[in-house]
């Protein structure tokens, strides 16, 4: 009856942690919450991030902004592509986590993970093209050189969509950071594990610490201090329900954060440039022209 000694082996479970400033801390609150699959089976205890964790993440994101926004577009593109490379190697892990978290078939989860990997590649290519698409040389009526170029808006809070724990997550992170913004991301509340595992990929993809910070927990609890934070420049409300979104948008008015309201999105469809443009400012430089 020794069917297989190997199958009797007790597996090593993973302790999921937050990702802040390139490090993997537990929540400062010491809290966790139970994450289950769609049938209610226990999967893991995820960190239940606190307001303090959210504020720490903003500090880390702000600290990383100068270096990341100042990096060349070529460099940022290379790093996003590197994320895709790292993900490809862990494809099976993500397929399992997405299938369990979202209750998808293996085929469904595979499609979502493959699309997410391809999305990193797609956005990697945008790094050195968005300025050409969104910028312009302006023919002003006078002897002036006049050029408009897009620049990152700063620290962006991203509430990841609840219904698409990995493809949706990647679809909000990649467009925000490829242009030079840094991000504080709140993972899907019910299925945070793919996000927390993505952090391990980001940490090994040459992405500077603090560019992406990932928090798991109650979206409403973490989002409120982020929307009110005076050092956050923009917020993507994709993961907020209608009632919460109104409250957060009001809070965001206090320092005139750029707000991307929740809207129906088909995460599998071609994303277009909307999410890239939402977190860009246009800077116009004038200089006299003559000899």
């Amino acid at each position: 009856m020794k069917q297989s000694d190997r199958n009797d082996r007790l597996s090593v479970l993973k302790t999921y942690k937050l990702f802040v400033g390139g490090k993997f801390p537990r929540s400062e609150s010491g809290r966790v919450y139970e994450v289950t699959d769609t049938k209610g089976q226990w999967l893991a205890n995820a960190p239940l991030a606190s307001r303090k964790d959210a504020r720490d993440a903003v500090v880390a994101a702000r600290k990383a902004f100068g270096g990341w926004s100042g990096a060349t577009a070529y460099n940022r593109g290379q790093i996003l592509y590197r994320v895709a490379e790292m993900l490809e190697g862990r494809r099976d892990q993500f397929i399992r986590e997405v299938a369990e978290g979202e209750g998808l078939s293996r085929a469904g989860a595979t499609a979502a993970v493959d699309a997410a990997i391809d999305r990193w590649v797609w956005y990697a290519g945008w790094s050195d093209k968005i300025a050409q698409i969104a910028g312009s040389a302006n023919p002003v009526a006078g002897p002036y050189f006049n050029l408009s170029s897009p620049e990152p808006t700063g620290v962006v809070a991203l509430l990841a969509p609840q219904e698409s724990s990995f493809l949706g997550l990647v679809s909000v992170i990649a467009p925000a950071i490829v242009t030079g913004n840094t991000a504080v991301v709140v993972a899907a509340e019910g299925a945070p594990l793919p996000a927390l595992s993505l952090a391990e990929v980001l940490a090994t993809s040459d992405l500077p610490g603090g560019v992406v910070n990932l928090l798991s927990g109650r979206t409403a609890e973490i989002a409120v201090p982020l929307a009110a934070h005076q050092d956050v420049n923009a917020i993507d409300l994709a993961g907020a329900d209608a009632e919460l979104a109104v409250e957060l948008e009001k809070a965001a008015a206090e320092n005139l954060k750029r707000v991307l309201r929740p809207q129906p999105v088909d995460w599998a469809a071609d994303p277009g440039t909307g999410r890239l443009l939402a977190f860009l400012e246009t800077k116009t430089v004038w200089h006299p022209m003559g000899v």
Partner: protein, 494 residues
């Protein structure tokens, strides 16, 4: 050296015929406010009452929005090339009537005729020309192959450039197929009402442009009206925040063009004479009633003395007085309320230890006046270095290194504009890169053009006006509300 005084050279008022009273312009007709309320608009240089204007209430705003909704169906369905022709007509009529409008603007606003004639009016016409040309080319603008208008635009504009701000709002809105309800500022409503007459002369269909005059409460009604699909506001950051709160949870698209506290940075290798002219224009243009005014002068320590001497010498030549005099550099402060605000902030500058200086100048006995003023010894903690004064008051700070200049320039919740003065090209580009502001003028200041996007970072608001970028605010993106939704809401309103 003998001093040659200027003889008075007033522009004639005869070219403009101001009626004793004006109504609201709704659905192509002038009419009284529903409750018959009126307010007076006066000339800030003499306190003379120019006219009486209707104060629109909630009911009037509702009527205007419904008129705009009704007109939207046909206006948005017109081929772009036809809309373009209406805008070209408007541009031409503005050019024809520009002398009349310049005098009117100077009378109602207090700005020198030199500026309304040579800056405001040419730019107003140019904006309509520029956006006219976009109306039939929207599919090429980079906002998708099938760009659609949003519906009814509710637009609220300030008193510093009454007609120019109208052009910035109305031209792109009409070019993209939206219809408009515009509320001009309480103290400067007249040029917008004259614009209504230009719309009539151009044969613009009824209801495409509606003008409701009134105070802040009228603006608040307009912004909050459920039939409005798009809100465009230029004004104070405080009101901008209130608007952002009021549209929370709605599908209204919003652009806000708000305050600023621009740093005008002068390096030791700057061409001093040109820099002085730029500093003067940067802060004293339009009495300093400019959101992108260069109100914080950052001077490199090694040239501080030389620059300030030259600046004071130049300030002594500024002529303050009658806005209609062609030799006037600085006109009247727009209102008693604004004058009080400027005085309070300037007094705070003195009380907090900065040193105040103004050239000797005789101010007229009637009207609202403030002499061009300079503060030295200003630190970043002073209110005059942090708060927008919106008047002819310049605060001077110093720096030693480019890094220090960047840190001080960016040390503000605003991010509208900045100036850089240096002969070194690589330094201009490096500084321009690091400054967090939407418009950077290097070796020049306060230049505007319809082809050039304008707007701010941070708390200076969101969105851009002007240029290709200015179209985005009036077009629906893939997931944004379409005019069909607006139609349905319109029905509910009816």
């Amino acid at each position: 050296m003998p001093v040659f005084e200027y003889a008075p050279a007033p522009e004639s008022r005869a070219v403009v015929d101001i009626a004793p009273s004006y109504g609201l312009f709704i659905d192509g007709e002038f009419g009284e406010a529903g409750d018959g309320k009126v307010f007076k608009t006066l000339s800030p240089s003499s306190e003379e009452v120019l006219s009486e204007v209707a104060q629109a209430g909630a009911e009037d705003v509702d009527r205007a929005v419904k008129a705009a909704r009704k007109a939207f169906a046909t206006w948005s369905a017109l081929p772009g090339s036809e809309r373009a022709k209406y805008l070209f007509r408007i541009a031409r009529i503005i050019q024809e009537r520009s002398r009349e409008l310049a005098v009117l603007e100077s009378l109602d606003n207090g700005k020198p005729i030199r500026e309304s004639r040579d800056a405001d009016l040419p730019l107003v016409a140019a904006h309509f020309f520029y956006y006219a040309g976009w109306a039939d080319k929207l599919a090429y603008a980079g906002y998708g192959p099938d760009p659609r208008p949003l519906g009814v635009a509710g637009q609220v504009i300030p008193w510093n450039f009454p007609l120019l701000m109208l052009a910035w709002k109305v031209a792109p809105a009409l070019a993209t197929g939206n219809t408009v309800v515009l509320k001009p500022a309480e103290t400067t409503p007249l040029s917008a009402l004259f614009f209504a007459d230009i719309c009539r002369q151009a044969g613009l269909p009824k209801g495409v442009v509606n003008i409701v005059t009134g105070d802040g409460s009228t603006g608040a009604e307009l912004v909050a009206h459920p039939g409005v699909d798009k809100v465009a506001f230029t004004g104070s950051t405080e009101v901008g925040k209130a608007i952002a709160r009021s549209v929370a949870g709605t599908r209204k698209k919003v652009t806000l063009e708000l305050g600023g506290k621009a740093a005008n940075i002068v390096f030791d290798d700057a061409p001093i004479d040109q820099a002085v002219e730029g500093i003067i224009g940067g802060i004293f243009f339009n009495q300093g009633h400019v959101c992108c005014a260069g109100s914080r002068l950052l001077v490199q320590e090694s040239v501080q003395e030389e620059l300030l001497d030259a600046l004071k010498r130049r300030m002594r030549t500024l002529r303050v007085g009658d806005p209609l005099d062609k030799n006037t550099d600085i006109g009247a402060i727009n209102s008693a309320e604004q004058l009080a605000r400027i005085r309070a902030l300037a007094d705070a500058g003195e009380a907090e230890g900065a040193e105040r200086w103004a050239p000797e100048c005789e101010l007229p006995s009637h009207g609202y006046w403030f002499a061009p003023t300079l503060f030295t010894g200003v630190t970043q903690a002073h209110r005059i270095a942090r708060e927008e004064i919106f008047g002819p008051v310049l605060s001077v700070l110093t720096f030693r290194t480019p890094d220090e200049a960047v840190a001080k320039a960016n040390n503000t919740p605003y991010g509208l504009s900045a100036g850089i003065w240096t002969e070194k090209g690589s330094r201009i580009l490096a500084m321009a890169n690091k400054l967090r502001a939407g418009v950077i003028w290097s070796n020049t200041f306060n230049k505007f053009d319809p082809a050039s996007p304008f707007g701010g970072y941070k708390e200076s608001g969101y969105g851009r006006e002007g240029g290709r970028h200015g179209l985005e605010a009036y077009l629906a993106g893939a997931a944004e509300p379409t005019s069909e939704r607006s139609e349905r809401e319109g029905e509910r309103d009816r």
